[in-house]
């Protein structure tokens, strides 16, 4: 490859120095296939192939061994759409997402404002707010399962309540949401903090000279400057929250929670795949789930594009 490029470059050099430079420059940016090849290989094996395989399996009655599967057409999909547990578990994941996303976004912003404006001990605040994110989900879940324990846990003790947190269907998901807020807010907090640090200070100085008070500065400078990071935080949180699994299963001892109230969509997929050994059916609900996630992601892209166009 390099040799042929040189033979092309040779006559060019004879003509003008400028022509040679352009050619060599182009040569530097050409034929990049080898750069992306290692990633694409892994990506094909562990993302694309399972995706295609999942779509194929969803039309079969495959079990966990993958032997003797026969083609059943749309049966799995028909069954899934009439399966109350599919709708229930999807509802639980959506409910969780609707509670977590707004709370995390607001909380992360407030924490970042706090950590940004306190002048002393910046590293300490960062550490405090980010530390929970550094725990494995299972550890965070066990910790809070223990805190929420009705008799021996600290939460009821501190607040003087007797709430059956993880054993009553009206509280169980709420307990999981609270755990998740504590555990994951640090990541969004860090994104906000980095964004706040990136706002040029002269904007604030100019506003101060114009007599803007702290509230005006926040509404007219800080919030608009944070708009794109807020979009990112929300998008990442929605995608992550829809896929909730770890906390929900660990906090309810690997069961679907009181009256199945914390069975999430991922959990249901794995139950069908690994407990009932219905790989074909589990694949069908995975595909449905993938379509939902993709729809959410495309909706976001579409909204962003529209906003950019109106901005222009």
């Amino acid at each position: 490859m390099a040799a042929s490029a040189h033979t092309i470059a040779a006559p060019a050099r004879a003509k003008t120095a400028a022509g040679s430079a352009t050619l060599r420059r182009k040569q530097g940016f050409q034929h990049g296939g080898w750069f992306v090849a290692p990633f694409l290989l892994l990506f094909a094996l562990f993302v694309i192939w399972p995706l295609l395989r999942g779509v194929y399996l969803s039309f079969t009655d495959a079990n966990i061994t993958g032997e003797g599967a026969s083609f059943v057409g749309l049966d799995n999909y028909r069954e899934a759409l009439n399966d109350p547990l599919v709708w229930d578990s999807l509802g639980h994941s959506a409910y969780f997402t609707l509670l977590v996303v707004p709370c995390i976004t607001v909380l992360a912003f407030l924490l970042a404002m706090l950590a940004h404006h306190i002048e002393r001990g910046k590293w300490l605040w960062r550490l405090c707010f980010f530390a929970p994110f550094l725990l494995p989900s299972t550890v965070a879940a066990n910790l809070w399962q223990w805190l929420f324990n009705p008799g021996t846990g600290m939460i009821n003790h501190v607040f003087g309540t007797e709430t059956p947190w993880l054993t009553d269907k009206s509280y169980a998901m709420l307990a999981i949401v609270i755990t998740t807020l504590w555990w994951t807010v640090g990541f969004s907090f860090l994104l906000y903090l980095a964004a706040l640090q990136g706002i040029p200070g002269h904007l604030y100085e100019a506003a101060k000279l114009d007599g803007a008070n702290a509230w005006h500065r926040m509404v007219h400078i800080t919030l608009p400057m944070l708009r794109s990071i807020t979009g990112l935080v929300i998008a990442l949180q929605v995608l992550a929250s829809l896929q909730i699994f770890d906390q929900a299963v660990v906090m309810t001892d690997f069961l679907p929670g009181p009256e199945g109230s914390t069975r999430t969509f991922v959990q249901y997929t794995l139950e069908e795949g690994f407990t009932s050994y219905r790989v074909g059916y589990a694949s069908a609900i995975s595909v449905i789930f993938f379509v939902i996630i993709a729809a959410v992601a495309f909706a976001r892209m579409w909204l962003l594009r529209n906003r950019e166009e109106t901005a222009r």
């Binding site: 430079a21 060599r24 420059r25 530097g28 940016f29 990049g32 296939g33 080898w34 750069f35 992306v36 290692p38 990633f39 694409l40 892994l42 990506f43 094996l45 562990f46 993302v47 694309i48 399972p50 995706l51 399996l57 966990i64 924490l111 706090l114 404006h117 306190i118 002393r120 960062r126 550490l127 405090c128 929970p132 550094l134 494995p136 989900s137 299972t138 550890v139 066990n142 910790l143 223990w146 021996t152 600290m154 504590w182 860090l190 980095a194 964004a195 640090q197 990136g198 896929q243 660990v250 991922v266 794995l270 795949g273 690994f274 589990a282 694949s283 995975s286 993938f290 996630i293 992601a297």
Partner: protein, 277 residues
């Protein structure tokens, strides 16, 4: 350090920050104190914060019952391998997509972006059967390789590489440097903060990953920390003091890393273009 004034608003903010921090740290304290109680004291009603009899029993039992050191080593092996592979392949791919031309580039880029939406959570079952077909269930390979194709990391580095002025590389090309040499001697050193952020977040994600190792391992000797603690320790009937000790063991390494590198981590987040997008 002493030059900053304690204005009334700073005092107020600091007090507020302290209160919020105590709230954030309380669960850690609860875990730590529980781990220093005896198992009987841990389940006393009503609960109390500080142990009446401070004892290292739970910690001792944790190490004596064996598995934990195994899990720790497994976690370390898996996370280090995943991080190294991810850094290498996603830096190469990010550069390839940002700075070189090849046939089908835009289509492939689109496919990779679509991959942002696909995680083991979404495709757990088919991914498992694929890995099973490759004979990698209950192996290190099976735990490591499927974690090594994160489209998000490629995207972050792609964005970053796009921001590097082309002139820097062009000058080197004109001087006769090859593409690979430019990549390794000019581009990579410039990208250190972004690579650090990608590396650190990959390491955190991999160290804390529960779902995939949970699916792909049944052998307790091969489990990683989060996995072993959640599944094996729970299955004996929960011993809370020990469970808390195990949890702190699993969480501590990353917290220590963060204490030392937090400045770089925050700078890295800013640099990745994540924040500025």
């Amino acid at each position: 350090m002493t030059t900053k004034a304690w204005t009334p608003s700073q005092i107020l903010l600091t007090l507020l920050g302290t209160a919020v921090s105590i709230l954030f740290l309380a669960p850690f304290a609860w875990g730590l104190f529980t781990s220093l109680k005896s198992e009987t004291e841990a389940v006393e009603v009503p609960p109390h914060w500080l142990p009446e009899d401070w004892t290292g029993q739970a910690w001792k039992a944790l190490f004596e019952s064996g598995n934990i050191t195994n899990w720790f080593v497994n976690s370390l092996v898996v996370s280090v391998c995943v991080t190294s592979v991810v850094l290498l392949v996603s830096a190469l791919a990010g550069y390839g997509f940002a700075r070189t031309e090849f046939r089908g580039k835009s289509v492939l880029m689109g496919v990779v972006m679509a991959g942002l939406m696909i995680s083991p959570a979404v495709l757990g079952v088919p991914l498992f059967t694929t890995v099973q077909q490759m004979g990698m269930v209950d192996t290190y390979w099976g735990m490591i390789l499927p974690q090594c194709a994160p489209a998000a990391m490629v995207y972050i580095l792609y964005k970053f590489f796009q921001g590097i002025p082309r002139e820097l590389e062009e000058a080197a090309f004109i001087d006769g440097a090859g593409r690979w040499r430019v990549f390794f001697t000019i581009v990579l050193p410039l990208s250190r903060p972004s690579l650090a952020a990608v590396g650190i977040f990959t390491f955190i994600a991999s160290w804390n990953n529960f779902l995939w190792p949970y699916m792909v391992t049944n052998n307790p000797d091969l489990m990683t920390m989060p996995n072993g603690i959640a599944t094996v320790m729970n299955s004996y009937g929960i011993q809370w003091a020990q469970l808390m000790a195990g949890g702190l063991m699993a969480g501590l390494p990353l917290i220590i890393v963060f204490v030392f590198f937090q400045r770089q981590i925050v700078a890295g987040v800013a640099h990745t273009g994540l924040a500025g997008q």
